[in-house]
């Protein structure tokens, strides 16, 4: 279930659907975090107002991103941080590598960061003989198993504790156990040594405050605090959309993010780091480097619909709420960012050429939009991207549907539009369809249709392959209406409504 490609999403999803262990884990995720989130929402007075405000702050920032980004960089530098600008993943990785080389770093610890996942930092560093040790428990499990995260908040959600116990037994020589506390204790013991010997700590960033040059990182375990306090050098990789204008804006986001992500009122720790320490004898690293990374983000600024993707605060609520993610998990998406937000961000980051199936990985039910703490209209974005897939206009990475399918689709929709434009044609069409459907109807429903029918009408074939279709009713409402005695018509109408 790993290192899958987004190009084979359909096949990935089918494989995932057959994985009962995975689907059990996903049910647990949806119900547990979903419930916790609901309870956490009741502890704020005006959740809707908070969402509105958060989105307004993000919109304001993004509309003037140049200004806020410059202010952030200048203020962080004034406090002693060193700012680096990375146009793409390659540049970001090269900067990290250069910083490590210059410091002769041999031991590097890392806290969880989606930005570093996005640029495949570990792979890039491993190629140069440096392996950063992941210190978030979930990420460490994933690293030991040589897998990729399947969720942006709980990366190892797809693994059972039995699998993790077996992994720890194999890789670390720890007696297999069912006790999560024992597994966690082993992680603490072993990772402490890694922290003690590390010369450099690498982290992500949740929010960068323009006004003060402060970076804020949220966590529950304490590994972020160790990563950013113990080693002599701290490198933070930050997507440029993480900037917010004012220090007090943190209030809004610190209310929204933990509640949406894990259903907590506040995560156990927030580290607010402004530059480097003031005096040499103070605690903390001697150097703080912040890498501001574009990697396809500025492109999203060019249209208000795509720009809203940059409001995302990576809480994962849309994954937990998505009926598609709940069935197939994160790996099937074949990309770093899974779920609804992944289906809209990934094609924009790496182009639609290899990700054209992702905007279709949704039933457009809107659950993601409902839970999104910054009110991103993900269904709108999905439709926007689908239009780009069909028109082949996506950033020069034209995705072409087979010509034949295009023509057939166009013809079918023309015919459909034509038939529906006249009541008489519509009525006759329905009558003909009623006759044609007869062989397929049994027990008042249409079961799996024959291969021949499926070939002529692919949508009907696809639908009935997994579920029954409703046949056209023996009489339409209009026909019933006409047949009734005019005096009874009121009763018919109410009867229909009660149906």
């Amino acid at each position: 279930m790993n290192h899958l490609s987004a190009e084979t999403f359909d096949a990935n999803a089918r494989t995932a659907l057959a994985d009962t262990q995975l689907r059990g884990a996903l049910r647990n995720l949806a119900s547990t975090i979903g419930e916790r989130r609901k309870v956490a929402l009741t502890t704020v007075d005006d959740w809707e107002g908070l969402r509105e405000r958060a989105r307004a702050i993000k919109d304001e920032t993004l509309a003037h991103l140049d200004k806020y980004l410059e202010a952030f960089a200048d203020n962080a530098e004034r406090a002693g941080a060193q700012i680096h600008w990375a146009h793409d993943a390659g540049e970001a990785c090269a900067i990290v590598l250069r910083l490590l080389r210059e410091r002769n770093a041999t031991h590097v610890v890392k806290s969880k960061s989606m930005a570093t996942e996005e640029i495949h930092l570990n792979t890039a560093l491993e190629a140069e003989g440096l392996t950063p040790v992941e210190t978030d428990l979930g990420e460490w499990i994933i690293q030991l198993a040589k897998e990729t995260p399947s969720h942006i908040v709980v990366p190892a959600i797809h693994k059972s504790k039995r699998q993790i116990a077996e992994l720890f037994a194999e890789k670390l020589g720890i007696e297999p156990t069912d006790d999560v506390a024992v597994l966690t204790g082993a992680a603490r013991r072993i990772l402490r040594q890694r922290f003690a010997e590390a010369q450099v700590g690498i982290s992500g960033v949740n929010f960068g405050v323009a006004e003060t040059g402060t970076i804020l990182i949220l966590e529950n375990e304490g590994n972020v605090r160790l990563t950013t306090s113990l080693p002599k050098t701290h490198i933070a990789v930050m997507g440029i959309e993480k900037v917010i204008p004012r220090f007090t804006d943190l209030d809004v986001f610190l209310k929204l993010l933990p509640r949406s992500g894990t259903g907590q009122s506040l995560t156990a720790y927030q580290s607010l780091i402004t530059g480097t320490k003031r005096r040499p004898e103070d605690e903390g690293p001697e150097e703080v480097h912040i890498i501001l990374m574009d990697n396809g983000r500025t492109r999203m600024l060019g249209h208000p619909v795509t720009r809203q993707s940059l409001a995302c605060i990576r809480c994962g609520a849309c994954l937990n709420a998505c009926p598609v993610y709940q069935q197939i998990g994160g790996h099937a998406y074949g990309s770093v960012y899974p779920g609804p937000i992944g289906a809209v961000i990934t094609p924009q980051l790496i182009g639609l050429a290899k990700t054209a199936q992702l905007p279709y990985a949704s039933s457009l039910c809107g659950a993601c939009r409902e839970v999104c703490p910054v009110k991103i209209d993900i269904p709108q974005l999905l439709l926007h991207l689908r239009a780009e897939v069909v028109e082949g206009t996506a950033n020069g990475t034209a995705q072409k549907l087979p010509v034949k399918r295009k023509i057939v689709e166009r013809l079918a929709f023309r015919l459909y539009a034509f038939a529906w434009s006249s009541p008489r044609l519509y009525e006759w069409g329905t009558r003909i369809a009623r006759v044609l459907q007869r062989p397929a109807v049994s027990d008042g429903r249409i079961g799996k249709v024959s291969t021949l029918v499926a070939k002529v009408m692919p949508p009907l074939g696809a639908w009935t392959a997994w579920r029954d279709a409703r046949p056209i009713a023996p009489l339409s409402f209009r026909e019933l209406w006409r047949e009734q005695d005019p005096r009874d018509n009121r009763n018919v109408a109410t009867g229909m409504m009660e149906d």
Binding site: A25, N28, D45, G49, E52, R53, A56, I57, A63, D66, A73, R78, I83, H84, W85, H87, R98, L137, V154, A156, I157, K161, V180, T184, T212, T214, N220, E221, G222, R225, L226, S229, L230, I240, R246, D249, L250, D251, V252, L254, K255, S265, A268, Y269, S271, L272, T274, G275, K277, D282, L292, D294, T298, R299, M300, L301, G302, H303, P304, R307
Partner: protein, 237 residues
């Protein structure tokens, strides 16, 4: 130097790209703004942040409730001697061998009254801290709504002593408790960048993880036990 120039060039390129994209979006934005006025939303929702609301119970009681809800231990102390005795009880129960204390004057004053055979380290470095069982710090603020402690590096060396040992004991004066996060953020922001501590740490309960089957485990990288001693009659900040 070459790298400095490289960074400056990269900065110019990125900012230019941002401006170009925003300019390209101007037309679409104009259409959208006819329907959505962002500035208005920001003004209208300003009341959401940082306003203390009337709630039931005292600040201390609400802090206790919230702290206990995240598995923290609450201890009320009416004077410094009480606080010292509470610390003595905890380190006795835990049979603590090595104790790290921060450079907070309050913590030092209180700890002088603690009788213990344990080895006490002041200003311990990372290596020494790894062997400590207990870390004792103060806290500059506490939040009643979430049971959170706020520690500022300018006031206290807190980063490692509140993190590395398995037990963290924090002493906070009751006058430093605020209802809401927004109140403390506003106070911190008022100091401006010059006054702002280089590291501010928010602590809500002991270290925790749910990374294995969403099962809660306490004390994964940081402390597994958090005791907060609220000292009443302290200075009202």
């Amino acid at each position: 130097m070459a790298e400095r120039q490289q960074d400056n060039a990269a900065r110019r390129v990125m900012l230019a790209s941002i401006r170009e994209q925003l300019a390209a979006s101007a037309h679409f934005d104009a259409v959208r703004d006819e329907h959505h006025l962002q500035a208005r939303v920001i003004e209208e929702t300003a009341h959401i942040a940082a306003v203390a609301e009337p709630t039931t119970g005292s600040l201390v009681e609400r802090f206790q409730q919230a702290l206990e809800a995240v598995s923290g231990h609450f201890i009320a102390a009416s004077n410094e001697n009480d606080a010292a005795q509470a610390i003595q009880r905890i380190i006795g129960q835990m049979n603590a061998q090595r104790i790290a204390i921060s450079d907070s004057p309050l913590v030092r004053r209180i700890f002088k009254q603690v009788e213990s055979d344990a080895l006490v380290l002041e200003n311990a470095g990372p290596e020494a801290l790894f062997d400590c069982d207990v870390g004792i710090t103060g806290a500059q603020w506490a939040l009643a709504e979430t049971g959170t402690l706020v520690l500022e590096s300018e006031h206290e060396r807190h980063r490692l002593s509140s993190l590395v040992p398995m037990i963290h004991i924090a002493i906070v004066e009751s006058g430093r408790i605020r209802q809401k996060l927004g109140e403390v953020l506003q106070t911190l922001a008022q100091e401006g960048q010059e006054g702002l501590s280089r590291t501010v740490t928010f602590i809500t309960g002991p270290s925790r993880t749910s990374d294995i089957e969403l099962t809660l485990a306490i004390g994964v990288h940081g402390p597994g036990e958090l005791y907060v001693i609220v000292l009443s009659g302290g200075n009202v900040g």
